[in-house]
Symmetry: C2
Subunit: 477 residues, 2 copies
């Protein structure tokens, strides 16, 4: 019995309504389902499997730099949250408060962690004594809660999954080195695994993390020309160490404060995958992150030998993540579903193919079809998946580069932000006033001061005074 009842429904085109296109994909590719709590989504198997692959890749990269995983409580006593002034000002307005346990009112209310700097600082103040205890390179995988007013799946939710690394070092130089090292881990991961090129840079003081000395960021450009902050790494200097009294005795037996960092990447990056690579047929996943890399679709599967051959091909491709769609749906339905779900490659195999000793390989990213001999299929799939991964990165890079603009005067700047979605590069004097004026006039915020600085001119694009840095500006998620 054919199951053509609920055919894959068409999604809104991205040209028509990008926001609706995004929402359609997260729902119809079955990445998320809405829950009964505002702003909290359910990660369904197809969505969570992407996160599992992200975790696996990132976790291995962290451990290769000697990071150890721990788990901290989800509750932070109000008095502990209040210990570092800038930090509490940044987070207190958006935390969820637990006031009752069972039927009893708590003496001190507890916030559900919005981030765990205060807990790690409290731990380090207890377990760090000597220079021999340093560095501490801890990370945890968990969920955090921020009481956001407006929410969108992956991009901004009340609760989201992430990892947060927290390190303590003997010297400022070591902390700075770790801050940059982890930003590079994120950027390399995004390029190599997610096929998303990143701009690496430093946040302005206005945009930096609450309590940080410096915040570094990786910024990606979405298909609609908006920027997405994709991962951050913070150097706290010894500010938290003073607030939490985290000290160690150095080799000369003198008491010193530690220097700290923290760094995080969240399920938000799944939003970036969707908005960088997706198209009007649905999700497009880079092969290296795709939970299923190849979907084998049998044609005329009831004919003798077709399903057997499909499963035979699957077993030949045991080096890859492969499934056979042997459901009772039509091939056309299966094609649409595989496309909607963003599976990087499809193999079509029917009676005629079997007779000819071949199969049809179809690329999800380009739609290109290639006929290959069954005897060569493993090598052909390998080559094609590598090619898809590479082409997706190059396509994303080309899109970003062709949507990055340089401006040196304010009129052109404003016109560019208004009419050309993308990054706008322009010089800045370093004053908060200009940053705020630009935001007010154009809606663009400073994304970062890129590590690769250029001098487009000597003067601030806004006020005309002496320029201090090149800044990437843009509208953002």
């Amino acid at each position: 019995m054919a199951n053509d009842k609920k055919m894959v429904e068409a999604i809104t085109s991205m040209e028509e309504d990008f926001a609706q296109w995004y929402t359609d994909i997260v729902k119809k590719a079955e990445l998320v389902e809405y829950s009964g709590v505002r702003g909290c989504v359910i990660l369904r198997p197809s969505g969570y499997a992407i996160w599992e692959n992200i975790q696996k890749e990132l976790d291995a990269r962290f451990k290769a730099t000697d990071v150890e995983n721990v788990y901290m409580p989800m509750f932070i006593p109000e008095s502990l949250l209040n210990k570092e002034k800038d930090h509490v000002e940044g987070f207190a307005p958006e935390v969820a408060w637990v006031t009752h346990g069972g039927s009893e009112a708590l003496q001190e209310r507890l916030c559900v962690r919005p981030t765990s700097e205060t807990l790690f600082c409290d731990l380090y103040s207890k377990i760090v004594e000597s220079y021999r205890d340093l560095p501490k390179l801890y990370n945890q995988w968990c969920s955090v809660v921020r009481w956001e007013k407006t929410t969108r799946p992956f991009l901004r939710s009340l609760e989201f999954l992430w990892q947060e690394g927290h390190t303590a070092h003997a010297t400022a130089a070591e902390a700075e080195e770790r801050t940059q090292q982890m930003l590079n881990v994120y950027a390399d991961f995004c390029e190599e695994i997610l096929a998303i090129p990143m701009i690496k840079g430093r946040k302005t003081d206005k945009e930096k993390f609450a309590g940080a000395h410096a915040t570094y960021t990786i910024e990606a450009l979405m298909h609609d020309g908006k920027a997405l902050q994709s991962g951050t790494s913070h150097n706290f200097g010894d500010g938290f160490a003073h607030a939490f009294d985290i000290t160690y005795t150095d080799k000369e037996n003198k008491l010193q404060h530690v220097h700290q960092t923290s760094w995080g990447m969240s399920t938000r990056i799944i939003g970036a995958i969707i908005m960088v690579h997706g198209d009007n047929s649905g999700l497009v996943l880079p092969p290296r992150i795709a939970p299923c890399q190849v979907m084998i679709v049998p044609i005329q599967q009831k004919k003798e030998g077709v399903l057997d051959k499909a499963f035979e091909i699957k077993s030949v491709l045991s080096n890859f993540r492969v499934k056979v769609d042997d459901s009772d749906k039509s091939p056309g339905w299966k094609f649409s579903e595989q496309e909607m779900r963003g599976i990087p490659m499809r193999i079509e195999i029917g009676p005629k193919d079997i007779e000819a000793g071949q199969a049809v390989l179809v690329r999800r990213d380009t739609g290109e079809k290639t006929i290959v001999a069954l005897s060569d299929i493993s090598a052909a799939v390998d080559t094609m998946l590598v090619q898809i991964q590479q082409d997706m990165l190059e396509k994303a890079r080309a899109h970003r580069d062709s949507h990055s603009y340089e401006t040196t005067d304010y009129e052109t700047f404003k016109e560019t932000v208004a009419n050309k979605p993308g990054f706008v590069k322009a010089m800045w004097c370093g004053d908060l006033a200009c940053e705020e004026k630009i935001k007010e006039d154009t809606g663009a915020s400073s994304r970062c001061m890129p590590f690769e600085q250029e001098a487009l001119s000597n003067t601030c694009v806004c006020c005309g005074k002496q320029a201090k840095a090149l800044v990437y500006w843009g509208k953002s998620y």
Copy 2:
């Protein structure tokens, strides 16, 4: 400079004070640190790494049975929690309530999940339509919160890490099969990986899960003769399906309710590892779960060639999880630390060993020393780790069997519970009254009605009426 300042401190002996011995180990093996919130502990790297290995093993076993991972929100609206009567009565008294988001009071308060049946039911009611959508075999790894009055690390905490599987099936038979299948997954995992033998059985109605039709359990015996419930698997029948209106159309196009299961294992099992295998020198980890399996301790490490040889051995042992302790502590200190941390094997290598082309292998579980030729070391380590794993299981089984008693009259029963820590097997009539009387008279609760039933007599050990089942009784954690 030697670091003998903080020598490994002795722990309380288990004969003197078992509870203090336990607390000493969790603290001195650096498994946990206490946090600022009552009943919430921090899992330090040595503790969390055990959990990571548990996750990896269990997750692979779940996936081999077609289970898919998802992530549900941590908040449950009060109205959703209230939907199934027995369930809410079981959990409402011990949940944490979020009443404020930022500075605003919530219209409906949210509980922090104590378990997620209600969320999974809500999801299934939305996404299950046809028999083609079944079964749903979902699991999530997360933390849950239960507002316990008294807490102990791993055994009972306000927040703990676990996995919770939730499945929906077309038939009652399928649900029953899945319930038993997952109990077997847990029992096999505990025996094969944790070297802990389990009694498998069914909970009495008094002890079953709130809202369940039947609860199956695995019960282990700790070194002090107390039982620990180590994992449970519940068959919900169609009770939740009726409360949450989870229906599907069957092949005859008739509307049916689904049948559901849930099953969970938590960080509590780490408490079992400690209390089954630990000794008065500290933790003893079975090789298959140990984050570090072999610690190489160089003797006279400043002598030329010693450290080189230690690292050479490490690289020869690349199939195992091996570390070299090249810190500036004394060998004696390193031995004590390796023992406290429960690392299954130590390799001692010094100038004389190198000259003789040999090394000394020391088993953590027995203390036995074996001299092996360096040319054979990889095979010798392999054989010894397998032997340790096997011996630890047999030792735990022998301890359990020698602490399991059979009684047929109530005087002997009471005397046994009072004087012989362990399991007491006795017949039961099936009445709650007898179960409650036994608990009141002796402090022992029913652990389970084992799947392997025997008839010790025809009458209930308590009331003398017709017996319905053999029950394992015992004091428990």
